[in-house]
Symmetry: D3
């Protein structure tokens, strides 16, 4: 039942996502119990011009 | 004032979305009261490689 | 698989929520297909001092 | 530490976003204290056919 | 129409929130145009034991 | 920089959350790279009467 939303900077490969959701589901079941099938994970790829830290978009030079 | 966020697997048509928001707004007003204009609905189309259940992306064979 | 997040002003009864999730699930299946079991709905009750429109919290006089 | 998610209709320029995150970070630090570096802002551009008000998608004629 | 969600550590006063939503609405209208009434802001107060950075909850000693 | 939001049914202990955020941060760094300090995790405890599956709140008998 736990539902994850993960926001990450765009550019990660499907292979990285594949590995990440496998691992997250595994540790979730280890720590919280329940079945793997109850774990939902939704990933959002965020463009660098849509994420800011310190008042500056990540598409800008730092 | 109720604000909906709906995440659905990509691939639904605009016609389906048009019908869905009409119906959701209607039942919301019926049950909660208020005016239709106070109901906001935001839809996110999620790619199959960005949604996992049971530790597996929906872009992978099952 | 569609996942709903509904934010509403605090104060709605469990009976209203019970009716709302029943209706939303019904119209979702009608319009998008799929099984009722694939529809998840999460409700957030928002306090009036945590929601603002027009630059003013809803806990303030209007 | 405050984390902002801003959903806006698609079509705003990067220059508008650049200015917006700068200003939001500034007022956040003024009002809440903390350092600018602790403020994260994530922007979502929403297509007109994915946002509805009053039961009608914004891609439809009004 | 822009919709803000702000997550902040619990403990801010209503007066701080009052000032924050006023300022955010003002800068939003300045930068994006539109009317103040079109700006919605939802605040979530997050408990220190529900926010982690670097693998550690903020309720733990650092 | 990856930011996680985890929604789980209320009732988990702080010890479970402490372990979960530690493990999630660890696997995130393993798979995506980056530093642990760049991983933020926000947890939402959802009441059983605010989560529905199959058109039925989890506070209702099944």
């Amino acid at each position: 039942m736990p539902t994850y939303h993960i926001e990450m900077m765009e550019g990660r490969t499907v292979e990285q996502k594949r590995k990440l959701v496998e691992e997250i589901t595994r540790v979730t079941v280890e720590v919280l119990g329940g079945s793997p099938e109850s774990v939902d994970i939704l990933i959002t790829d965020v463009a660098r011009h849509n994420w800011a830290t310190g008042g500056k978009l990540w598409s800008e030079p730092r």
